[in-house]
Amino acid sequence: MTAVKTEAKAVVPPVDDEELAAGRASRPRGKRRLGPGKPIPLAFLIGPLLLLGVWAWGSAAGWIDDRVLTAPWTVVTTAWERWESGKLGPDLLVSTQRFALGLLFGVLAGLVLALVSGLSRWGEAIVDGPVQIKRSIPNLALLPLLLLWFGIDERMKIITIALGVLIPIYIHTHNGLRSIDGRYAELAETLRLKPAAFIGRVVLPGALPGFLLGMRFAVTSAWLSLVVVEQVNATSGIGYMMLLAGTYGQTDVIIVGLVLYALLGLASDAIVRLIQRRALTWRRTLED
């Protein structure tokens, strides 16, 4: 009995381990019981494919009238024919160009405004109000005014798209900037980082998650605005093609346009998601 006691005593390490017992938080990695579970490969394709399956099946079985919704294969052949005859290519190019330019200018403007208002109180006082006001006015409502100001040329279309893009970029980047952990600012303070280094090394990376989230909304918004400007007044582009098809009752061409919008929208969202995943490996969220 006594022997056991001494032995047990000898095993105890000489250094007191109060801290170890206190248990600092260190998160175990790997299996998580809560949360959505393991990521499924190519998960984003599953929903759309299911929808496509129902559509194809419905058309084949004759439940879906061809005049109401053209069968998927008809859409493919129509798209191919138009592409072959050189009618689709230019429209597609024009639409993509408008989208890209509008997105570019909108992102730049949103980013600059978010930085100005996120980094200085005066900037916020001046910038935030007008942006919030713009936010509550739908782009569609601004259209008559924009038409008056900029006419019906490309400039007006790109400005309309950019105005729609600017809002989500601004809101989410600004929010990202403001919710950077105060500890990082304290840390930067003790490191005596200069303002430029503080912005470049702390503020911008810290706001990146917010910016990329804004980017996903921005991409969607850009396509949305594109559809609007192309259907309200245009003489080229996918929207115009659909508008024209509508007047001639060509359901298949309308569907081609819709499918194109959907594909382009999906593709651009996928690209943003990919960038998100690449750029934010340092974050641990429910996503991974």
């Binding site: 490191l191 005596r192 090394r201």
Partner: protein, 263 residues
């Protein structure tokens, strides 16, 4: 106002590089009936090149004291006097920039001083070796354990080359062996570079192992209860009898303070 007070109390010799003198430091958080007095009249003199350990119950204002010395927060009263130069700070929760690699986190401390790229890299790797993290230079903080993150924070604090180093429970998350090794390293670096170290800990033995003086703080409001001068020869061992004896004495005092506060 604080300036005149400082001038009257502290002579110029005490203002040598690395000296830190706290005079009647008061820190209150909030206003009105909900206000918390974290520190109430803390006076403390830290010699340049000395190692001071701060001990006290949880919530007694140790972290507050360090952030005041680091200039991260404003005083409610009194003054803190040290040469106007950056102090290096190691936070209680190892604060690393999650978007930078381990090496990037260490290098950023040198970038400010305009150290060249190659030199930064060399020094960062050297410091990572010191804290036993060779081979982790390109990992991100989320890929490290809590203790490893603290060691990166230590490497970064050292990279700042400041003459005053503030450490808030830096080795709390480490196992006893690693902590022992880092005590030796810290002691070596402290002596070589002539640093002034202010070191917060809950571990009384650790305080006696490392400190020239051990400062015992009271709880709410935080005041200096007692200052123990540790006159044991270095290098000390944390498990040696003299360390244990002094630690036991201080533990008794600390226990008394905690139970007084509990009543």
């Amino acid at each position: 106002m604080t300036e005149t007070r400082t001038a009257s109390r502290v002579d110029d010799t005490a203002r040598a590089a690395g000296a830190v003198v706290l005079t009647d430091v008061v820190k209150r958080y909030g206003r009105g009936p909900g206000a918390v007095t974290a520190l109430d009249g803390v006076s403390l003199s830290v010699e340049p090149g000395s190692f001071t350990c701060l001990l006290g119950a949880s919530g007694c204002g140790k972290s507050t004291l360090l952030s005041l010395v680091a200039g991260l927060d404003d005083l409610s009263g009194g003054s803190i006097d040290h040469v106007d130069q950056p102090v290096a700070m190691m936070f209680q929760e190892s604060a690393l920039f999650p978007w930078l690699t381990v090496q990037g986190n260490v290098e950023i401390a040198m970038r400010v001083r305009g150290v060249g790229r190659a030199e930064r890299r060399r020094r960062a790797l050297e410091l990572l070796e010191t804290v036993r993290l060779t081979g982790f230079a390109h990992k991100r903080p989320h890929e490290l354990s809590g203790g490893m993150r603290q060691r990166v924070a230590l490497a970064r604090a050292l990279a700042q080359d400041a003459s005053v180093l503030l450490m808030d429970e830096p080795f709390g998350a480490l196992d006893a062996m690693t902590r022992d090794l880092l005590h030796d390293e810290l002691e070596r670096i402290w002596r070589e570079q002539g640093l002034t170290v202010l070191f917060v800990t809950h571990n009384v033995r650790e305080a006696v192992r490392l400190g020239d003086q051990v400062v015992l703080l009271s709880s709410r409001p935080g005041r200096v209860l007692n200052v123990y001068d540790v006159e044991l020869d270095r290098p000390r061992r944390i498990d040696s009898a003299p360390v244990a004896a002094l630690a036991a004495e201080i533990t008794d005092a600390l226990r008394e303070e905690v139970s007084r506060h509990a009543n």
